[in-house]
């Protein structure tokens, strides 16, 4: 079981490795979440969901279940 974005804690950085959901991956790619990109988990909404990450200089929010489709390697 590989690590996904949903497993990160606030302040942790990671590198994107790949995606597990083909439909979501297009949207994520378009938003600049490319494999190899370094991201940082910056915020969690109340109740821990959704989350916000810093990616290529801006803030992107997504739900936890969507974050779980992004495989990452922690740094």
């Amino acid at each position: 079981m590989s690590v996904t974005l949903a497993d990160l804690k606030v302040g942790e950085q990671a590198e994107i490795i790949g995606f597990t959901d083909e439909l979501l991956s297009l949207k994520l790619l378009e938003m600049g979440c490319l494999p190899g990109t370094v991201i940082e988990l910056t915020h969690q909404a109340p109740f821990g969901d959704p989350i916000a990450i810093k990616v290529s200089g801006y803030t992107l929010s997504m739900r936890k279940e969507e974050a779980a489709t992004i495989q990452v390697k922690t740094l």
């Binding site: 083909e22 439909l23 979501l24 991956s25 297009l26 949207k27 994520l28 790619l29 378009e30 938003m31 600049g32 490319l34 910056t42 915020h43 969690q44 909404a45 109340p46 109740f47 969901d49 959704p50 916000a52 290529s56 200089g57 801006y58 803030t59 992107l60 929010s61 997504m62 739900r63 969507e66």
Partner: protein
């Protein structure tokens, strides 16, 4: 005007497209847009030179030309179809320089469609403050197009953009015929053979997005499906590989054209203003408190600050009417002018201050980037009720008007979430209800009273009504979630834009547009119904009205002349056509505490609830005593006596029963028509009308029976 060259403005959301549009076109805009809502395309005229004008088309913000929700479909429907009436001669892609790579993705797609394109680099100063210096001359050469640096917010760089546009319009140079990712030549040949000649990338767009494009018939769509099967073409994986490929190429270009000072100096990343503000606004507890506080401030302000201009308008209209009655001969025509027309117009104008304040707040929240934070902190909560974080915008815009609010649901990707949002949005108290609330609250809640000496009780009552509408909306959403058992994936991948100071010119424009739309759209209906109502209230079947005067005089020989005149007027109203209608529905509304006069108002506000106050002014100015002190509608209603008890008719029970009825009832033809258009079915507006009216009747019944 159709001969003017057309320029489409395209860009990511928050890239500064709308600011640029406003500084190019100023007041020469055609459609009114409501704050928080990109309703549709938006056109305006830009004067390049004194004798050379172009038409500018502002399109909804997108991240890629592949749409993910209905509002984004508009862009490919225009750009993908050369015979579309709005197909542009060229495009300006507005790019946020502080996020260049992501913004260039869209640019490269638009350019590959074969549309001559200029790149407008916005927010260069923000990029530089973050340590990125962009060589735009080199960038122009690499992309082989014109690049103009602009500051859309301050309106700087428009001249350079104008030169770039003029040059591009003259050359009509569209670069790059190559596909980002090759496909078989025979596939393109097949598309050309069946659907006509086009740039290769446009042909592919047709093939991949034919279901979302209105230019194709069902047979043609099936033809595309067959072609996909024949060539084993998979749209999804093509789009994914295409996006990766484009980013690879763009990374190299950005690498060559942008100097990263941070890398040279090895400086630690700067904590931006946005990072610091988000610590507060996205705080697990503080975030909610701030949001509630902002909402509360908004309603306190709408009620207290707007009161001064409103009183002035109210008094002014009453004075004008008295003055006209004094100088004009007493005739039916004078009555129509004063009690019908001017009373009706006054009923519209008086709400302009409140609506302006409301739109001021909503556009401020939208402008500063705070609205996205609200979606973020509300998403989890809203999901429990079958809604979505993005439902917050329709619900909040619904406070202004349900029509643009329902249109703004187009940005919600999931059909189920969108449908539920559409169904419950009209329960939010819109600005047309505000007049009714204002008048009725003033009647039943004492004016001078405060809670803990600081909160105006009338303001609190108003806030309570808005909260009630909101809770009823999410409760209804929850019920619909249980009924609609659709398993569908919705997603919430969304940019949280950087905080920006509000652009007051932009806000002023959107307030002006919204108020204008309210005054003219709602105003037309209100004035028309006021006139019809005046006629119905002034005439009756046969000669019944003429007989009234005689019989009243005979029955009350001792009354003074003024009192007699009042009695005659009241009796005449009851015998008029309007009075007959009111009496006809009285049995149905009696359990809610309403008499036949309110019945008339209910009937007339069936199509548009804002008519209520106008109707009340018309009815009471015909039926009551008209002197200077009593001239405002509030005072006339306050003076109304319940014949059964001898006490004021508008007591707490009746007042609250009416308030609740108007809070929940579906009395807006425009909203039903919008629901029909957005759901493409009569089923949903019908359900919407029935459930809301039933809710209104039952709640008003309970309130009246408990309080009286």
């Amino acid at each position: 005007m159709s001969k003017l060259p057309k320029i489409a403005l395209i860009g990511n959301p928050n890239a500064g497209k709308s600011s640029l549009f406003n500084s190019l076109t100023g007041l020469n805009q055609k459609t009114g847009n409501f704050p928080g809502v990109t309703m549709d395309k938006h056109t305006g005229i830009w004067e390049l030179e004194p004798n050379s004008k172009v038409e500018v088309l502002d399109l909804p913000g997108i991240y890629s030309i592949y749409p993910k929700s209905i509002d984004e479909e508009l862009v490919i429907n225009i750009l993908g179809n050369p015979s579309h009436p709005d197909y542009p001669d060229m495009a300006i892609v507005v790019a946020d320089a502080s996020n260049l790579k992501r913004n260039l993705l869209l640019f490269s797609q638009v350019r590959d469609l074969g549309i001559p394109t200029v790149l407008a680099l916005n927010m260069v100063d923000v990029a530089e403050s973050q340590g990125f210096v962009i060589n735009s001359i080199k960038l122009a050469r690499e992309l082989s197009i014109e690049v103009a640096e602009i500051n859309a917010k301050k309106g700087i760089g428009v001249n350079g953009l104008r030169l770039a546009v003029e040059k591009t319009l003259k050359n009509r140079y569209a670069s790059n015929d190559a596909l980002p990712l090759p496909v078989g030549d025979d596939l393109l040949a097949d598309i050309t053979a069946q659907f006509g000649e086009a740039d290769p990338y446009r042909s592919l767009l047709w093939l991949m997005e034919h279901d979302r494009m209105k230019m194709f018939s069902n047979e043609q769509r099936m033809g595309f499906d067959r072609l996909q099967a024949k060539h084993r073409f998979d749209s999804k994986s093509y789009k994914t590989s295409e996006t990766v490929k484009r980013y690879e190429a763009l990374s190299e270009i950005v690498e060559r054209c942008v100097i990263n000072l941070n890398r040279q100096w090895d400086a630690p990343p700067v904590k931006t203003m946005t990072d610091r503000l988000d610590k507060f606004f996205l705080h697990p507890v503080g975030g909610y408190l701030i949001f509630l506080g902002i909402l509360f401030l908004m309603f306190q302000a709408v009620f207290t600050w707007a009161a001064y201009p409103m009183d002035a308008i109210d008094g002014g209209v009453a004075q004008l009417n008295d003055y006209l009655k004094g100088i004009l001969p007493a005739s039916a025509l004078t009555g129509l002018l004063t009690d019908g027309l001017i009373a009706g117009i006054g009923g519209v104008l008086i709400f302009v201050p409140q609506i302006a304040f409301l739109f001021f707040f909503i556009s401020m929240l939208e402008e500063t980037g705070y609205m996205s934070r609200v979606m973020f902190i509300m998403d989890k909560l809203m999901r429990r009720f079958g809604l979505n974080g993005k439902s917050v915008v329709p619900l909040m815009s619904g406070v202004a008007c349900a029509v643009p609010a329902i249109m703004s649901t187009r940005s919600i990707g999931s059909w189920k979430d969108r449908l539920i949002t559409i169904m419950v949005t009209p329960l939010m108290s819109c600005s047309a209800r505000l007049p009714i609330y204002t008048v009725l609250i003033a009647l039943v809640v004492p004016e001078k009273s405060t809670l803990f000496g600081m909160f105006n009780l009338q303001g609190l009552a108003l806030f309570g009504l808005y909260l009630l509408g909101f809770f009823m909306a999410i409760l209804s959403a929850w019920v619909m979630k249980q009924v609609l058992q659709v398993k569908e994936k919705s997603y919430f991948i969304m940019e949280l834009p950087t905080y920006k100071g509000p652009r007051f010119k932009h806000m002023a424009l959107s307030i002006y547009n919204s108020v204008q739309a309210f005054v003219f759209e709602a105003g037309k209906i209100i004035v028309a119904i006021s006139i019809v109502l005046w006629v119905l209230a002034s005439y009756g079947p046969g000669d019944s009205l003429a007989l009234v005067e005689q019989s009243v005089r005979q029955a009350n020989p001792t009354l003074s002349e003024t009192a007699l005149a009042n009695k005659v007027a009241a009796e005449k109203l009851e015998q008029s056509y309007a009075g007959h209608f009111g009496h006809f529905i009285e049995p149905v509304i009696k359990p809610l505490g309403y008499d036949w006069k309110i019945g008339i108002a209910l009937i007339t506000s069936f199509a548009a609830r804002e008519v209520f106050v106008g109707t009340m002014s018309t009815i009471y100015s015909l039926g009551g005593e008209v002197d200077d002190e009593n001239a405002t509608i509030k005072n006339r209603m306050r003076a109304e006596i319940n014949p059964a008890t001898g006490k004021p008719l508008y007591d707490a029970a009746l007042g609250f029963s009416l308030l609740i009825f108007y809070a929940f009832a579906m009395q807006c033809m425009s909203t039903l028509a919008t629901t029909y258009r957005e759901t493409k079915s009569w089923k949903y507006p019908t359900i919407q009308f029935l459930y809301m009216t039933a809710l209104a009747y039952l709640s008003a019944f309970i309130v009246y029976q408990v309080l009286s």
